[in-house]
Point group: C2
Chain length 191, copies 2
């Protein structure tokens, strides 16, 4: 059995990854990110710095990988029995998790490494959750909106405010965008 | 005469800022960002590392400040004589500048420092350009959309694709979002 990222669970490689990720999370709790260094992480994880450089390349990639694990969904989005309510519940949870200072730091870490892979995976997590909600709604016979439209008109404005505003995006504003999108899209019976 | 950031042009403080910014830009051209360090920047700028730490706090803040200067608009957006065409021309230029690998790196640098000030200023640059375009259109008697709506429904999806997609945002897609927003907003005669 091999995980998606090619790491065999329980193998030496997986144990190193788990120890290094755990060390990063522990040091992040203890001190500001400015103090995080590869030698400090290596000492805390009980590996050599060269193990970290060989596997992750640099600190930005390691921090991005740790942050990506934090945004990986725990399971399927909540099933409330209605398309709009499922989307609304998902949005509320998403904003709640990411609008905090630790939440913003996680998004910053994901984006901070030049390789776009983790940012793409982060967007893919969101798309899959929206696809699950859409497929459930379709099975109930509800009209749906394609996930690209929801990402453009609801998710993107929330993320933009999260990243570029001093104030957090509000759930009321996000739900307003959702209702506007569902209203105009329902007319088109997209999907 | 004092600039907005409180630095007197031509003064010692302004000269240090100019030299350090110039050193960062020079080193960024010479080598990958991974190699950029405060001592290297200080040596190149002819100042001590402690000058840099005292003034910018850390490397992330310095890189963010340099990147912010690169997204500061050179002047007013182009005046084509029509609201839609002004917005379209602005969008094309914006995507053209930011969708390149150096453009993405600039946005990453702005976002990478924990203090949200520069990200907010970056968003403010965009808003001011949209406000200028709106005010010109109003003076011509054209119906306009408020800048918040344009930011939510056109700018945010472009920036989201810029940050989270492997592929660059396309101008065609962005113009489609613009036309959809102008179409539904014109009905409301917002503004």
């Amino acid at each position: 059995m091999v995980e998606k990222n090619g790491v065999r669970p329980g193998g030496r490689s997986a144990r190193i990854q788990a120890a290094v990720h755990q060390a990063v999370r522990q040091l992040q709790q203890q001190e500001g990110q400015g103090e995080l260094t590869v030698p400090a992480v290596a000492a805390c994880a009980g590996v050599t710095p060269s193990t970290i450089y060989r596997r992750w390349g640099d600190l930005a990639q390691l921090l991005s990988d740790v942050a990506l694990e934090r945004v990986r969904p725990d399971g399927e989005p909540r099933d409330t029995g209605s398309y709009r309510e499922d989307l609304r519940a998902w949005l509320e949870q998403y904003i709640d998790e990411l609008a905090s200072e630790p939440g913003r730091a996680i998004v910053r870490d994901i984006l901070a490494c030049p390789a776009p892979g983790n940012a793409g995976k982060c967007a893919e997590f969101i798309r899959r959750q929206l696809d699950v909600i859409r497929d459930r709604a379709r099975a109930r016979g509800e009209p749906v909106v394609d996930s690209d439209t929801l990402i453009d008109l609801v998710v993107a404005p929330v993320v933009y405010r999260l990243l570029f505003s001093i104030s957090a995006p509000s759930i009321g504003h996000a739900v307003g965008l959702l209702d506007h999108t569902l209203g105009s899209a329902a007319l088109r019976r997209a999907g």
